[in-house]
């Protein structure tokens, strides 16, 4: 955090955000007011609160975006006006509509780590309530709302933290590009996120929402107005995710440096590419489903309301048609980071590279034909069970290839157990448990019992938290020296890993048993016989929560006072390590010339790329750390 030039002081730095807020509020009042006015003119007697909120929000969102920077940096051009660009340096950049992919990457990363910690706090509240049978600190209604908030925020973290944060930061560097293909669209994807957070927090003032992150109707059509805010938030977030997807696909497709063929693409880039294919093509289904719920609520339609001739089951199909592929949006980049880190820290080529790429693409294809495994107990047509069970079990084949690559890379390597590597290994272990327990959920007979129990809660925390979040930490530690130009504290990093790894497993392993033993999910209270195990889980969870304090301390402290990092402290071969830490704006003074594979460790004379940068270390140059 250098503050070399801050022309305008802390207030000036926040000016765009303040302006966005003001214009946003004005937009909201205009849109909402117009709706109320129109309803009055049409002689509607009922107060159209939810319609006014929804339409007001559309205007408010537009106003926010224009105010925060779209007008100055973009929209003025549509009217023939000159664009306004200001040179901002130091930390105020992070509060601007900035187009540098590295700034946007950090914006995403910091925002979503903060959201992760917030949602983690909600998890702690839940575990306090669940520590003992009976009511502990909150009503069932409050519990359900907190649980739903925890769920949806964590889902957002899982979808965006790696792609939006590390993807934005590292992908252009890894492929030798100077920025993303659509830098302003990239900024727009990020600035769509704050309204999502504002809406979700506002649900506390609108009666909450009690439908979990899944928003199943008919409940989501008859509950408090908080549901409307939830739907608007998730639709906005979906838009951000779609725009991000387009941007990555075009960037990876079009901006690769000369010689960076598809066969030489670093594996993390491949994983982001695969995940972006899904975000671009699946997210619309979720948005459509949520819009239909809004229309049922505010316009008297009946897509999902059985009492008025709609079909509640329809929503579940549409929802999971997005949300199953979405779990691969979360995990594919996790695979990418884990393999990337395993390779560099085993000092061996990535084993079976082509099979990994095939595995990624196989997962993408299969992910679209498995959604109904979430519907085994929903009452859908009987003959669908077999086919969806088959497709779901088949997805373990491409996933198995990821494990082949990981194990093959470790085998006979020179393992360097630094913090990123520890997290990558932790990822393998946890995701293995997540994957194996997934088989029990995929199998119709066992799932009839396990569906909607804590077994499922254990399973998805093992994949998302044990997998994706561990990979996120691997990536954060791995790229920390590049992003900040400083080294994190290795001792604290290892402490964080072991503390988190152990308490994570003691928290979530017992949940499998709870589920089998009759504890259904999304409940504030449970049969008293299950009390001791729940207490154990809660204590573990508090210890787990405390482990993140080590992480936060390490990051903040090292960013401010850590020792200077060399360009390539890991002696890694990929392109981002061949430029200074942190990389200059524009990344490479001239496009690098890629001549070989990124992972040719142990191959005499192999060169990945020729990079013309003064003062940067090439592979094999002396290193520190």
């Amino acid at each position: 955090m250098t503050d070399d030039s801050m022309q305008s002081g802390p207030f000036g730095a926040l000016l765009p955000v303040v302006r966005g807020l003001i214009v946003g509020v004005i937009g909201f009042l205009l849109g909402g007011g117009a709706t109320v006015g129109a309803a009055t003119l049409l002689g509607r007697s009922a107060w159209p609160a939810e319609a006014a909120i929804s339409i007001g929000y559309l205007f408010g969102l537009t106003g926010w975006l224009l105010g925060v920077g779209v007008w100055d940096a973009w929209a003025r051009g549509w009217f023939g006006l000159p664009l306004r660009r200001e040179e901002v340096h130091g930390w105020p950049r992070y509060f601007r509509f900035t187009t540098d992919h590295k700034v946007i990457g950090v914006q995403y990363l910091v925002t979503f780590v903060a959201l992760f910690l917030l949602a983690g706090l909600f998890a702690m509240l839940m575990r306090v309530e669940l520590a003992a049978p009976g009511r502990t600190i909150m009503t069932a209604a409050r519990y359900t709302h907190v649980m739903s908030m925890h769920g949806i925020i964590m889902i957002a973290v899982a979808v965006a933290a790696i792609i939006g944060g590390l993807g934005n930061y590292a992908v252009p560097l890894l492929i030798g590009a100077d920025d993303m293909a659509f830098p302003r669209l990239n900024a727009l994807s990020y600035w769509l996120v704050p309204p999502v957070a504002v809406l979700l927090v506002s649900t506390f003032f609108a009666g909450g929402f009690d439908t979990g992150w899944t928003a199943y109707p008919p409940l989501s059509e008859v509950n408090a107005t908080g549901q409307v805010l939830f739907n608007l938030a998730v639709i906005t977030f979906g838009l951000s995710s779609i725009l991000g997807g387009v941007n990555f696909l075009v960037t990876i497709g079009r901006l690769r440096a000369p010689g960076m063929t598809w066969g030489r693409l670093p594996v993390f880039v491949w994983s982001v590419f695969a995940a972006s294919l899904i975000s671009l093509t699946a997210t619309q289904f979720l948005a459509a489903g949520l819009v239909m719920i809004l229309l049922d609520r505010i316009a008297g339609m009946a897509f999902f309301s059985a009492l008025r001739g709609g079909a509640p089951l329809l929503y579940q199909h549409v929802f999971w048609f997005y949300s199953h592929p979405a779990v691969y949006i979360m995990i594919l980049p996790g695979f990418g980071i884990a393999l990337e880190v395993l390779t560099h820290f085993s000092r061996k080529p990535l084993y079976a590279y082509r099979w990994v790429v095939g595995g990624f693409l196989g997962i993408v294809a299969l992910s679209f034909v498995v959604w109904a495994h979430h519907l085994y107990t929903s009452g859908m047509a009987e003959y669908l069970h077999g086919p969806f069970m088959a497709t779901t079990e088949l997805i373990s084949i491409p996933t198995g290839l990821i494990f082949l690559a990981a194990l093959g890379t470790l085998w006979m390597g020179k393992l360097w157990l630094r913090t990123p590597m520890l997290f990558a290994l932790g990822f393998l272990f946890n995701f293995l448990i997540g994957g194996v327990t997934g088989i029990f959920n995929a199998d119709v007979p066992t799932d009839l019992h396990l569906q909607d129990t804590y077994f499922v809660v254990g399973h998805f925390h093992y994949t998302i938290m044990g997998g994706m979040i561990f990979a996120l930490f691997a990536g954060i530690y791995y790229w920390f020296p590049k992003i900040t130009g400083r080294l994190y504290d290795e001792g604290l990093g290892r402490l964080h890993f072991w503390w988190m790894f152990i308490t994570y497993n003691t928290t979530f392993i017992p949940m499998f048993w709870l589920g089998m033993f009759g504890m259904n999910r999304r409940i504030a209270d449970y049969p008293p016989a299950l009390g001791p195990v729940n207490l154990f889980i809660s204590v573990s969870a508090f210890l787990l929560g405390a482990s993140f304090l080590v992480f936060v301390f390490n990051m903040v402290h090292s960013w401010r006072r850590g020792p200077q990092a060399a360009a390539n402290p890991w002696r890694a071969r990929t392109l981002e390590w061949q430029v200074p830490s942190p990389p200059p704006e524009g990344n490479f003074p001239s496009p690098p010339q890629v001549t070989g594979h990124p992972y040719d460790y142990g191959v005499p004379g192999a060169v990945h790329a020729v990079v013309a940068v003064a003062g940067a270390a090439g592979p094999g140059a002396p290193v520190e750390g």
């Binding site: 107990t377 290839l401 085998w411 360097w416 909607d452 142990g602």
Partner: protein, 239 residues
């Protein structure tokens, strides 16, 4: 070769230990024919996953012990690219496992569960926030608990009046959503007499989030012998 042998021995040891540990019975009271089928599927999957789990674990542990370098590695590992036969073998084995699991326990268990779509007794279950209404159309009775004769095949016709609920009796291991505007069905043959007082797994629990009273939405389940059931019906009629 020595390395492979050592890792294979570790795999064998871990598998043996895992299979031994997997004999511990983790499942709750099983009180229906369906529960037996489902538990068998569960145990089979557990046994199959032990060697898979152990394989990955063995390679991980072995690598961590044998290939770890203290401090920063100065050398690089041998360039193994995985372009030979190994990935093909891996693909073959994992595909075979996946396909096997689809058939057994998957499709086989499913077929057993759905085998006999006839019933001696029909029970109608209607969920509404936040309680279950249980009716016996054959006896023209509506009650607040589920009482079933042991050994008779029962069909539950499940529906809801307001939002989604889900019919789940842990001791029977079966679950089906209660959907407004639809009737869903599930068959159960209770095999063990018992009641909620003996085991909390004999309860009809709502398993689909339905709002405020969701966790409280449960009704007791009692399985009685044929005579007991007739007596219960007679008592209900006379009331």
């Amino acid at each position: 070769m020595r390395r492979h042998l050592a890792a294979a021995l570790l795999w064998a040891a871990l598998t043996a230990a895992g299979l031994w540990a997997a004999r511990v019975d983790l499942l709750p009271l099983a009180a229906a024919r369906e529960a037996a089928i489902i538990d068998e599927a569960f145990r089979l999957l557990l046994r199959l996953s032990v060697p898979v789990f152990a394989f990955v674990l063995a390679v991980l542990i072995y690598s961590l012990v044998r290939f770890r370098v203290r401090g920063e590695p100065r050398e690089e590992g041998p360039p193994l690219f995985g372009r030979g036969i190994v990935p093909w073998v891996w693909l073959g084995v994992t595909s075979a496992l996946a396909v096997y699991v689809i058939f057994n326990p998957g499709l086989r268990g499913l077929a057993e569960l759905r085998a006999n779509p006839t019933a001696d007794l029909v029970v109608q279950v209607e969920g509404s926030r936040w309680q279950w209404k249980i009716s016996y159309p054959q006896y023209d009775m509506t009650v607040r608990e589920v009482v079933l004769p042991v050994g008779r095949r029962v069909r539950f016709d499940v529906t809801a009046t307001d939002v989604l609920h889900s019919f789940w009796i842990p001791a029977f291991r079966v679950k089906i959503d209660a959907v407004p505007g639809m009737t869903t069905r599930v068959f159960v043959t209770p095999t063990v007499a018992g009641s909620y007082e003996d085991s909390y797994h004999l309860r009809l629990q709502c398993a689909e989030l339905c709002g405020l009273g969701h966790n409280l939405m449960a009704s007791p389940v009692r399985v009685v012998d044929a005579g007991g059931f007739e007596a219960w019906v007679a008592r209900g009629k006379s009331r």
